[in-house]
């Protein structure tokens, strides 16, 4: 008897507390109705960024401070060490920052969850941004957020090793055959012809060059198990078998840039973030960047970007959009380019960037034929698994890897409907 009474009391107490807390939370914790907008007087905005380093932090702080001074508002910049986790927590806790970086792999999740304020229709000159990037950050046909910058992949070549192998600038590969031949020539001693990381963010470019990609162009069906994709992975595997292509971890490097800098790689496939890293870590290494060699279906590369998200639950949306407009202006994008080497996402600014930085020509030109990243809600796990499978490309068949990608992705697409 006493036991059952105690149990009853405990259950009742638990239930009461549960009701109280969840009751509270539905009143204030998670309010799904539109937030009250404050539009008069100086506003205090919080900006959350995932920074690539001190240079980026300083540049963003400087730019937001300049805007704050110009408009009389106040901006605090928060640095996120794990932005997915911190934003997820902030959304669930109903206290998101007003403006934040949105990674393209999380974009669809946030847009589907209704956390992003779609301000694309308020940007009068939205057409100045690269159309591929605008597509990347559109959800249900509406431009949700503006791309912050852009990055494409190119083939970075160590020119010293290139000359030592008896090659000249005329030999820079423009086709897969030449790439394979050059890589074989460059592979000797501790040097591997081509070193890259085992992920679709690099090898995917070859899939594009072969005429394939993970999904169709409007991301409604999987096209992973196409013959073109298989051809691309077969090509990678054939180079691997000859020893002229290795993954970065096989040569004790974290990524292609490190392998290039440590002279373990004569060539690597990397984006324009490479220039900043080489300047900082390996200033004495001479290298040049050429467009990725064309495959059977022509040229191909991948484009990456983050966008400036504005929280649907922000109480300062008007000011936040104004801040984004300032940060994505041609002048400011070029300033960011000077500070930490990113390429502008506006086509007009990109032209001036190309003039100013002729070394980045290959990357800049890539924008025209680049494939945008996959932005499907809940797709992260599928792509992570694809990357994991690519690690063991040496010992598994491309058909098997692509088949499981096709199956896994199909399941996510099927569930989404």
């Amino acid at each position: 008897m006493p036991t059952s009474r105690t149990l009853g009391a405990a259950t009742a107490a638990c239930a009461a507390v549960l009701l109280a807390v969840t009751g509270c939370s539905s009143n204030s914790g998670f309010d799904s109705s539109a937030p009250k907008q404050s539009s008069s007087g100086p506003q205090s905005l919080s900006v959350m960024i995932a920074t690539s380093g001190d240079a980026e932090t300083a540049a963003v702080k400087e730019a937001t401070a300049a805007w704050a001074q110009q408009t009389g508002n106040k901006v605090t910049v928060q640095l996120a060490s794990d932005i997915n986790q911190q934003l997820g927590q902030a959304f669930a806790g109903n206290k998101p920052p007003d403006v934040f970086y949105v990674n393209s792999d999380q974009f669809a999740n946030y847009a589907k969850g209704g956390s992003l304020y779609a301000y694309g229709d308020q940007i009068s000159d939205a057409s100045a941004f690269s159309s591929t990037l605008r597509d990347s950050f559109s959800y249900n046909g509406k431009l949700v957020c503006l791309p912050k910058d852009s990055s494409t992949l190119g083939l970075a070549i160590n020119t010293t090793l290139w000359k030592q192998a008896g090659l000249t600038a005329a030999d820079y590969p423009t086709t897969w055959d030449q790439l394979a031949k050059d890589a074989a020539k460059l592979t000797k001693g501790g040097v591997t012809g081509l070193v890259t990381t085992p992920d679709y963010q690099r090898l995917g470019a070859l899939m594009k060059e072969a005429g394939g990609w993970i999904t169709n162009s409007d991301q409604t069906t999987m096209t992973a198990d196409s013959a073109a994709n298989k051809q691309a992975l077969d090509f990678v595997k054939s180079m691997m078998a000859k020893g002229s292509l290795k993954y970065a971890s096989d040569v004790d490097a974290g990524w292609g840039g490190e392998a290039l800098g440590k002279k373990k790689a004569a060539m690597t496939i990397e984006g324009n973030w490479l220039s900043g890293a080489m300047k900082a870590d390996f200033p004495s290494v001479d290298y040049t960047v050429v467009p990725l060699p064309a495959g059977p279906a022509g040229k191909g590369t991948l484009v990456f970007s983050n966008c400036w998200g504005v929280a649907a639950k922000s109480g300062h949306q008007k000011a936040a959009v104004d801040l984004v407009r300032y940060l994505t202006s041609a002048k400011q994008q070029l300033a960011f380019g000077d500070a930490f080497g990113v390429m502008p996402s506006r086509t007009d600014a990109l032209a001036s960037y190309a003039q100013k930085y002729p070394d980045a020509k290959a990357w800049v030109e890539g924008i025209d034929y680049a494939q945008r990243p996959v932005t499907i809600a809940g797709f992260n796990q599928v792509l992570t698994q694809f990357n994991t499978d690519l690690q063991s490309l040496r010992s598994t068949s491309p058909a098997q890897i692509l088949g499981s990608l096709q199956r896994n992705g199909g399941q996510v697409l099927g569930n989404a409907r």
């Binding site: 539905s26 997915n84 004790d252 796990q381 698994q385 994991t388 199956r407 399941q411």
Partner: protein, 376 residues
């Protein structure tokens, strides 16, 4: 346990009060006593309820939802999916199930190797530093305890450097003519690696026929692959970091063993091994249970080393349920699956702890109970 018997004594005495007293103020007395009792435990009940029971119930609710973490899961308009998250994890063929099975496989090997190793090492260290004749005992204790007070993130980072392909460990191995693997980039399971090197199985197609069939979306060849080379370094790391803490627990227990016991054993003419087997270990049984239980729970929940050292790489062989739960939630915006993984993990840990308690139960119960009563 003798302790619970001791705790039970006062209550038992209370119920045996003289019948006359109970009859004089029967109800009021009991109510008052109960009220005071409740008053005293209220703060703890509130704290436990608010910070433990309640979040657990909330997580249980989330595990029944398809929730992206961006709305209130406690309103009417949630996507209630019942047991679908659990079905995805153990029933429906798909990526979710394969990943979960892989994480279970990895962690099972991790637990199976880490728990015994760290317990034996900790016990050995404790016995060593408990020797009265050992010089510099204090220094030795500090040294052995040091890894435990260091942040696991820092230790993991140091290990990353030590175990690089051209890192210190491989350089040391090369002195004795061994070419070490590229530890953290090596997804091969050690079972197939060893069997392959011995020429028993085919190196490129390990497992043979076992690779064609399987359970939970993972072939038998994968289940029996053993921990990968990368996972072995994780095991080494956790044994190294946790044995200090457990050494301390064993040491405290060793110092609690009455000297008279050892002296009596010495009079009986036992050697050191017999002393350990028949005197020390039985006296340490409750502590052994504690250490094994703590080890078991901690190892099934391993997260931070995985987060730092590769997030499941290479080849998902260091993926653990705790990390998978995190990445399902925060990377894949599927908190329902994440919560369901946590509860499945609970469903694994609880029976294991129960089983272990049963294995380590007090045998010869009669004598112990009599002893406890005499002490009480």
């Amino acid at each position: 346990m003798p302790d619970s018997a001791l705790l039970g004594t006062p209550a038992a005495a209370g119920s045996h009060r003289p019948a006359a007293a109970t009859r004089r103020r029967p109800v009021r007395d009991r109510i008052r006593q109960g009220a005071w009792g409740w008053l005293f435990v209220t703060p703890m009940v509130l704290v436990l309820g608010l910070f433990m029971a309640l979040p657990i119930l909330m997580a249980l609710w989330v595990s029944l939802l398809h929730w992206d973490g961006q709305s209130n899961p406690f309103t009417g308009n949630v996507d209630f999916v019942g047991l679908r998250n659990y079905r995805d994890l153990i029933g429906t063929d798909g990526l979710t199930r394969t990943l979960f099975a892989t994480s279970l496989r990895n962690t099972a090997y991790y637990v199976l190797l880490t728990v015994p190793l760290q317990t034996v090492l900790a016990l050995g260290l404790a016995i060593a530093v408990n020797q009265r004749l050992l010089r510099g005992r204090g220094a030795a204790r500090t040294v052995f305890y040091f890894p435990s007070v260091t942040s696991s993130i820092a230790v993991s980072t140091v290990f990353l450097f030590l175990f690089q392909g051209s890192g210190s460990v491989n350089r040391m191995l090369s002195w004795v003519g061994v070419k070490g693997p590229n530890w953290f980039a090596d997804p091969r399971g050690v079972v197939w690696l060893v069997l392959g090197n011995l020429g028993i199985t085919d190196r490129d197609h390990p497992g043979g026929a076992l690779a064609r069939h399987g359970v939970l979306g993972l072939s038998w060849a994968d289940w029996f692959s053993g921990p990968s080379v990368a996972m072995c370094t994780l095991i080494l790391l956790s044994v190294w970091t946790t044995s200090g803490t457990f050494m301390l627990i064993f040491l405290a227990a060793l110092q609690g063993i009455p000297r008279t016991l050892e002296e009596a054993a010495a009079l009986d003419g036992v050697n050191r091994r017999q002393l350990l087997r028949h005197v020390t270990l039985p006296a340490l049984r409750p502590v052994l249970f504690l250490v094994l239980t703590l080890g078991l729970i901690a190892t099934w929940q391993v997260f931070d080393q995985v987060y730092v050292m590769g997030k499941g790489a290479p080849g998902n062989t260091t993926l653990t349920p705790a990390y998978l739960s995190y990445s399902s939630g925060f990377d894949n915006a599927d908190f329902g699956h994440g919560a369901a993984i946590a509860f499945l993990l609970l469903a694994i840990i609880l029976p294991l702890a129960g089983l272990q308690r049963w294995v380590l139960r007090e045998r010869g119960t009669k004598r112990t109970r009599k002893g406890a009563r005499a002490r009480g």
